[in-house]
């Protein structure tokens, strides 16, 4: 490449931004049904489809809850009073639709979509699942065996091993540290336990249904009230302890013999989305490692070539939010990568960030919020998650204004508080025979056992 001519004349200027256009506020309606279900409907007409997210609180401190809950979500669509598994799937498909169930530590989620004109029949099928899922004995037996295989496959991935190890390091034996069930627990789950969990917990009161699509909000509320009228009851509330605090300590090393990379994971405390300091922390996270132009990525990827990409992010859960940093690096540069990570953490905690950095992440945060909620599916998922932690559409609409007001000093202060190395814990998954000695030259290292 020889850009000599254009260089001689000086580089061409990059075009400035023109004045921004404000997005239209979406039209929405909300109602709490007689059965206690909160329903939020947003009109979004880009494509003739509709997205549905039904979220039911599922937190539990029972040691085997995760195993029972996962098996429940794997079998809930396997048959109702009206349908067997194949017929249920065929009925949804005929609506141009999709329906799936999932669980995490916080919630049970029934997620679906269909051609917008088929919303009512989709809701009828969902009501059928909610009120008459049969959990046939042979389906439970088969899904239990399949779940064991899926867990084995999941735990053969370095990233899953690392996430589980970090969660244990941060949360000990709290339910947030055992989101993926243990194989030994899955093997003991009975059909009766699954049915009982559904009866006790899959209830409308306390749940939130989000509908986004090419629909009329007011009319849709009536359709929902009609379709889900037969679903009733209050989910049994369970007392779950708050998140434990954790102390900084030695690096936890999980041996994965033959691993050609090491998975670095760091965890810390973060603020909830409704906290006053959250917008500043959100921006501090972006400056550190939350987008491609972050300090961490420009250092260990674009300068050193140690990794395909490091990321830092804030995870929001019902009981609290956390900071999670991840990078998968070549085995031979594990210690240097950890050294550079420690350097960037120390730097952002001890020295102020610049106005230029803050302006860049501010625009990025505002722009990508708009982009990620510009699709029906993106808006439905974001809204469901916000409503699950006590926020909603207003939070989303007002957030750009909060981001606009954050000062550079506030971002520096948030970085100093939450990215301080003393407040973070570190886990490394990799080939211990190759990386233990180089890591020990930098810091204290302790071993961690594999999950059963």
């Amino acid at each position: 490449m020889s850009p000599a001519k254009s260089r001689a004349a000086g580089p061409k200027p990059v075009p400035p931004l023109t004045s921004p256009r404000r997005p239209r506020k979406p039209s929405s309606s909300e109602r709490t049904l007689d059965n206690g279900l909160r329903v939020v409907v947003v009109r979004k007409r880009d494509v003739p489809l509709v997205e549905v997210r039904l979220r039911v609180p599922f937190l539990s401190a029972k040691p085997k809850h995760s195993a029972r809950a996962t098996l429940l979500s794997d079998t809930v669509l396997s048959g109702t009073d009206r349908y067997d598994r194949g017929d249920l799937a065929a009925a949804v498909q005929a609506l141009g639709g999709d329906l799936s169930a999932s669980v995490d530590a916080d919630r049970f989620l029934l997620a679906g979509n269909a051609l917008a004109t088929n919303l009512a029949p989709l809701l009828v099928i969902m009501a059928d699942v909610l009120t008459s899922a049969r959990y046939p004995a042979d389906e439970v037996t088969r899904e239990r065996a399949r779940l064991v295989e899926r867990l084995t496959i999941a735990r053969s991935r370095a990233g899953v091993v690392a996430a589980e190890s970090l969660a244990r390091r941060m949360y000990g034996d709290h339910p947030y540290a055992r989101e993926l069930p243990r194989v030994a627990d899955v093997s003991t789950v009975t059909r009766k336990q699954v049915v009982r969990l559904h009866t006790e917990r899959v209830r409308p009161a306390g749940g939130v249904l989000v509908i986004v699509g090419d629909v009329s909000p007011a009319r849709t509320l009536d359709v929902v009230a009609d379709s889900l009228a037969s679903w009733d009851g209050t989910g049994r509330a369970e007392r779950v302890p708050g998140l434990p605090s954790f102390e900084n300590g030695p690096v936890v090393l999980v041996d994965r013999p033959g691993s050609v990379q090491s998975s670095l994971r760091l965890g810390g405390v973060a603020l909830r989305r409704d906290a006053d300091g959250y917008p500043a922390l959100q921006l501090a996270n972006l400056v550190f490692g939350g987008y491609f132009s972050s300090r961490w990525n420009e250092n260990i990827r674009e300068d050193k070539g140690y990794t395909y990409g490091p990321h830092s992010r804030i995870e929001h859960n019902v009981l609290g939010s956390s900071l999670v940093l991840d990078a998968d690096v070549a085995t031979e540069v594990t210690a240097p990568a950890l050294l550079e990570t420690a350097y960037e953490l120390a730097k952002i905690s001890a020295l102020p960030v610049t106005d230029g950095e803050v302006e860049s992440v501010r625009q990025y945060a505002i722009g990508t919020l708009a982009l990620s909620t510009a699709t029906q599916a993106g808006l439905a998922t974001t809204l469901s998650s916000l409503l699950g932690t006590g926020l909603g559409l207003d939070w989303m609409i007002e957030h750009p204004r909060r981001l606009a007001k954050v000062t550079t000093a506030e971002v520096s202060a948030a970085a100093a508080e939450f990215f301080a190395p003393a407040r973070l814990v570190t886990v490394v998954v990799g080939d211990a025979a190759s990386i233990a000695t180089p890591l020990q030259a930098l810091t204290r290292v302790v071993p961690d056992g594999q999950p059963s």
Partner: protein
């Protein structure tokens, strides 16, 4: 997607059909431009697709098309290294690029007030990427880590897109490792990159698509302003990479050090998706009938009745997108199964189910529900402005007409049960390539 026209399917239920406002311009240097205005939200998607992919990389340089994609982000005529990323992100946007078998794409999603900036950034690297020894060495290291994280350190990482083509196809363009061997990647030089750029990154070998909040006349002016000055270069002639169907079955075995249970990939060479689109669409519907969801035939049989596999999938296109490749393309069926002895039973069941479709045809309602789902998926994928820009550019590049997307619901509606039967009949045992993945990981 401002308007949706309802069509009738055979059972009388309406099936919506997308209607897009598309505008075409070709610049004097040969750059083809597709504009798709939709002012419902203040965002734009910009996509540039170059007509070069994995199949065109030279022997001894496996993985080069992808490595070159990385180099296109390392600075350009008027931009230092890191500036491209910073300009996009500090404008509130996101970017990426990806390398496919037949093309390479570069794209941004931006607030619409950054439209001209986005066009400038794409034009600047189309004019002249800044490829240096230092950036090349850095990106070779980054690409090696990408391959480690996605393939070498991950169970089933390259399965089957890296494992199947060497068995299913014969010629280097179709059969080689598209992520690249480390020796080939490390051998890449700045001169290789310069040659590759001059040969394949000519404006006449590219399509630019812009979708979203834009005024057509203003945008054409901006495109002319930024791309119009890029000198015209010869458009390279794309060779015919087609290969005839296999005449006898092929088998291969691969070992995955991290995988806890075995897996199989069954591949078939299928008709040219561009020249024989209607047959191709019958294949798309067949893949759904076989393996999409709990209602599908292979899920019902192998997962739920016989319980020999933990999951099964079927798809066209080596990355799972049926409209991503020209001839040749593959129909692939994959499954994971806990008992290593089950392979022959799985193959026999697949053959039986294909033979049953071929001989007995479809059940009442089966074709309609699968078709409705396919149309719905098509809409869903077009919801984001960036996806829309990418899809229009891809259909313009591969099929020669962005408008084809709007016609797909009608074309799918025209597919008959007999067409699907014929597609199934073509997937006979002697035409398949089978790759068995041996699990080398601890359980």
């Amino acid at each position: 997607m401002p308007a949706a026209v309802s069509r009738r399917r055979s059972d009388g239920a309406p099936l919506p059909s997308p209607s897009f406002d598309l505008h075409h311009v070709t610049l004097s240097n040969g750059l083809r431009v597709v504009l798709a205005p939709d002012r419902s939200a203040p965002v734009v998607g910009i996509a540039v697709l170059y007509d070069v992919g994995i199949r065109s990389e030279p022997e001894g340089r496996t993985g080069f098309a992808h490595l070159f994609e990385h180099l296109m982000f390392q600075g350009s005529a008027n931009l230092e290294k890191l500036e491209h990323f910073r300009y996009v992100q500090s404008s509130g946007g996101m970017f990426n690029g990806s390398t496919h078998f037949d093309y390479t794409n570069y794209f941004e999603a931006l607030p619409s007030n950054a439209l001209e900036r986005g066009l400038f950034l794409e034009a600047d690297r189309m004019l002249s990427p800044r490829i240096t020894e230092e950036n090349l060495a850095n990106q070779i290291a980054v690409v090696k880590e990408e391959i480690r994280v996605n393939v070498l350190n991950r169970p089933y990482g390259g399965f089957p897109w890296l494992e199947l083509p060497p068995v299913l196809f014969d010629t280097f363009p179709n059969a080689h490792n598209g992520y690249g061997g480390f020796v080939d990647l490390e051998s890449a030089t700045v001169e290789d990159a310069t040659d590759f750029f001059h040969r394949y990154y000519a404006p006449a070998n590219a399509v630019l698509a812009v979708a979203g909040d834009l005024d057509v006349d203003e945008t054409v002016e901006l495109i002319e302003k930024h791309f119009g000055g890029i000198p015209k270069r010869r458009r390279p002639v794309r060779p015919d990479f087609g290969e005839p169907p296999l005449a006898s079955e092929r088998r291969a075995v691969t070992t995955d050090a991290h995988a806890p249970i075995p897996a199989v990939a069954i591949g078939y060479r299928v008709p040219d998706p561009v020249a024989r689109l209607d047959e191709h669409l019958a294949g798309v519907l067949l893949s759904e009938i076989l393996a999409e969801g709990d209602a599908s035939r292979l899920q019902r049989r192998l997962v739920h009745r016989d319980r020999v596999v933990t999951d099964v999938s079927a798809y066209l296109g080596e990355f799972g997108d049926p409209f991503d490749e020209r001839d040749p393309t593959a129909f692939t069926i994959t499954a994971h199964y806990p008992n290593p002895e089950s392979l022959e039973r799985i193959l026999a069941a697949v053959d039986e189910e294909l033979a049953r479709v071929a001989a007995d045809g479809l059940e009442p309602g089966e074709l309609d529900r699968v078709r409705t789902r396919a149309v719905s998926v098509l809409f869903r994928e077009m919801d984001a402005v960036l996806s829309r820009a990418l899809e229009f550019a891809k259909f313009e590049l591969i099929f020669g007409r962005a408008e084809l997307i709007s016609e797909l619901p009608d074309r799918l509606t025209a597919v008959t049960g007999a067409d699907v039967q014929a597609a199934a009949a073509a997937l006979s045992p002697e035409r398949r390539a089978v790759v068995e993945l041996i699990a080398g990981g601890a359980r």
